[in-house]
């Protein structure tokens, strides 16, 4: 048909969606490392990229990332999951109980299964009964906490080193240890060559008792990306989050996919809890999750409902938390400078984007931070404790208008609503 296609020319042009090249992630890491090395040079803070920091950061990041991954699965299928925290809590107990009685890997499995139980409740409530997702999630958080404390009092009291609020020590998950490489990198680190040593430190952290669970978790991130964006299963699942009625009109069993997604979500959250109990520490403890389920949710939104972004979000949080906990004072102090510089960059960018008011505000923030940096030479402990939260908040304030959640996220869908 001769005139075919002119409607596009009239219709709105496609949103400028800059596609990132394949290697963007490596590039980002490289840049990050370079930046931090520079920061160490400038500020003299020496713990920004040490083996210990990297190792501890990994430990801090993984549970948040796994929780976020759980959120990613369910929200991509259109089910909001505030219950992540609860499912994590269930996971910690699962790891504690099965880990103690049947060994490390049983603990991992136990954590996943317990998390899935939580997911099952959420799925039944939201998918089958059409309960508001938030309500169900909140309820699950309450139930999980009570259930776990109750279970702990039943199962751990009287065991050696066990009690109302903690399980006995759990056998460790095996970890990777390549000593000669570790020593090799260690030597380079000690040479203190700009950037090289820092890179070596990272490498060293990756070969000295790196828990297999860390590796597995990182793989899960990749697998998630592949399954959701490269398989038909993933396409169907995402379509349930974008437009369930369209999906159903094409014969997709929407409810089944939502159900599956929420179960997987629970499993991942459970694993996150298990990780806390088995790798981050070595036994179940009451209140061990410390709101990391919510943080995971935040990291996922931060990451725009995408695995890469999620990793960035949880990384940012985990890293600044680690700095606060380790050397604390001067590392966080150094971080101030970094943020100030970034803020200035942001301000310039905003000015370019004709967002004068935003630019001014950002600029003021930047200057304030800069002044603060030179005014004090160590950050008081209370404030280094709040660093991760403040940083997350700041970063979001700069860059959160581009976020786009799945179109049907949080909506209750009933069969036969197509058309």
């Amino acid at each position: 048909m001769t005139t075919s296609g002119y409607t596009e020319s009239i219709a709105a042009a496609p949103r400028a969606r800059r596609k990132l090249p394949r290697w963007w992630f490596a590039a980002a890491l490289f840049g990050l490392l370079l930046g931090l090395s520079l920061l160490e040079q400038v500020t003299g803070a020496d713990d920004l990229v040490s083996r210990g920091t990297v190792a501890a950061t990994l430990i801090a990041v993984v549970p948040i990332m796994l929780a976020g991954l759980g959120g990613l699965w369910s929200e991509r299928a259109g089910v909001v999951n505030i219950g992540l925290e609860g499912m994590m809590i269930l996971g910690t107990w699962g790891a504690g109980y099965f880990g103690y009685h049947y060994g490390a890997w049983a603990g991992v499995a136990g954590a996943i299964v317990m998390g899935m139980l939580g997911g099952l409740v959420h799925a039944i409530a939201t998918v089958v009964f059409g309960v508001d997702h938030i309500i169900s999630g909140v309820a699950i958080n309450i139930i999980a906490l009570g259930a776990v404390q109750y279970l702990a009092s039943l199962t751990f009291v009287g065991l050696p080193g066990g009690g109302q609020t903690q399980s006995p020590k759990i056998e460790d998950v095996p970890s990777i240890n390549i000593t000669f490489l570790g020593d090799f990198f260690g030597d380079i680190v000690d040479k203190n060559i700009f950037f090289v040593s820092q890179t070596a430190a990272v490498a060293q952290a990756l070969v000295t008792n790196l828990s297999w669970l860390v590796v597995i978790s990182m793989l899960l991130l990749v697998v998630t990306w592949f399954v959701l964006w490269r398989t038909s299963f993933g396409l169907r699942l995402r379509s349930c989050g974008e437009s369930p009625s369209a999906a159903e009109s094409l014969g997709v069993h929407v409810l089944r996919y939502k159900f599956a997604a929420v179960l997987i979500s629970g499993g991942l959250a459970g694993l996150a809890g298990g990780f806390l109990a088995m790798v981050a520490s070595s036994n179940y403890r009451d209140g061990q999750t410390g709101g990391r389920g919510y943080i995971g949710l935040a990291a996922m939104i931060f990451g725009n409902w995408r695995p890469g972004g999620l990793l960035a979000g949880s990384g940012l949080f985990g890293y600044s938390e680690t700095l606060g906990l380790r050397a604390g004072g001067d590392s966080v102090h150094a971080l101030l400078l970094a943020i100030a510089v970034l803020a200035i960059a942001a301000a310039v960018w905003q000015a370019r984007q004709q967002q004068q008011r935003a630019a001014i505000i950002t600029g003021v923030v930047a200057v304030a931070l800069g002044v603060l940096y030179f005014a004090i030479d160590e950050v008081p402990s209370d404030f280094s404790t709040m660093t991760p939260y403040v940083v997350t908040l700041l970063v979001l304030a700069f860059a959160s208008q581009r976020l786009r959640m799945p179109a049907a996220d949080g909506q209750i869908y009933r069969k036969g609503s197509a058309g």
Binding site: G161, G163, R326
Partner: protein, 331 residues
């Protein structure tokens, strides 16, 4: 399937000789309760010992929930009182406000509270307090004597005045040995977030930070989080100092030999002696301070890692007892 450790403990430790006493003790733990491998456990130990020795007929236990209402603590004490338990032991200073109320409501019931002396005027309350700073002074000195890098650390669970006493004593002790020693201090959480007493992950990260930073001995007053500190020490092939009880005996074998010594805060002794002092209807009251003098606090030597410096430590101990050294209780 019931969890009332105490309920069973009346029977599960059958003392051969029938109990000579009819005392029923109500034990109100702080958050964590029996099995927290910290001072609740220590108190429980004292109770069990008393039971073994037949000093008491029966004991019932209950523990606080995290972030619970004041009324919940009051009710816990009242329920004990109503149920005819006497004496009732409140473990932890958190009970001070509620005990103030309840001890008035039940003048004929006897109470004891650990770690608080604000009720010393009340006739039916015995306050059992400790000179943590004195014990901490000694382990501080030990650390300063043992360190090879002249760099040590302190990790507190939650930044409360009580834990600050540990810090103050530790620092004073270390400085007494070596005035220009470097001491890292870190608290894991702030009130009302008490997770710092139960978060080994945090403890480990913080300790690793100190060890990587050059410290070779770290003293923790962080309850359950201490486990993480020991793990970090083991990985860094460095030393750590335990707290409250002799953690060398309770800790997991894998980390046993990093525990150079432990600051002993003998809550068990306090509880045991309190129960022992009861005779007929006369109950102890007023403030009893457990300090070095009465061996209410001290340091452990199991593992034999500080045998070479015990005499120096005992020398400091004597000076403190004699009052030649007064240990600060605030940083």
């Amino acid at each position: 399937g019931s969890d009332s450790e105490g309920g069973d403990s009346g029977t599960d430790s059958p003392s051969s000789d029938a109990p000579k006493s009819d005392i029923k003790v109500g034990m109100a733990y702080d958050v964590g309760g029996r099995g927290d491998q910290s001072f609740n456990d220590s108190a429980a130990a004292g109770l069990d010992q008393a039971k073994e020795e037949g000093l008491i007929a029966d004991a019932q236990e209950s523990e606080a929930e995290d972030g619970e209402a004041e009324t919940a603590r009051e009710e816990r004490l009242r329920t004990f009182a109503e149920a005819g338990f006497d004496p009732i032991i409140a473990v932890g200073f958190a009970y001070a406000p509620s005990l103030t109320k309840v001890s008035e409501e039940y003048p004929d019931v006897h109470f004891a509270i650990i770690d608080d002396a604000s009720l010393e005027k009340v006739p039916n309350v015995a306050s059992l307090v400790f000179a943590e700073e004195q014990g901490s002074f000694l382990v501080g000195a030990a650390a300063a004597l043992k360190t090879e890098s002249d760099h040590i650390g302190f990790i507190g669970g939650v930044e409360t005045p009580l834990i600050q006493k540990f810090e103050a004593g530790y620092v004073a002790g270390a400085k007494a040995v070596n005035p220009d020693i470097e001491i890292d201090v870190k608290y894991l959480t702030q009130v009302p977030d008490f997770s710092g007493f139960g978060d080994p992950a945090k403890g480990k990260t913080a300790a690793q930070g100190m060890y990587d930073g050059g410290a070779d001995i770290v003293y923790h007053a962080a309850g359950g989080s201490g486990g993480g500190v020991f793990e970090a020490a083991a990985e860094a092939k460095a030393k750590a100092i335990g707290v409250d009880s002799d953690q060398y005996n309770t800790a997991d074998p894998s980390v046993q030999d990093v525990i150079m010594t432990s600051m002993l805060k003998n809550v068990n002794v306090a509880v045991h002696e309190y129960l022992k002092a009861i005779d007929g209807d006369s109950f102890p009251s007023g403030v009893t301070t457990y300090d070095l003098k009465v061996d209410g606090v001290g340091y452990s030597t199991s593992g034999g890692q500080i045998d070479d410096i015990t005499d120096q430590l005992d020398d400091y101990k004597q000076q403190i007892i004699d009052g030649d050294i007064t240990v600060p209780d605030k940083p």
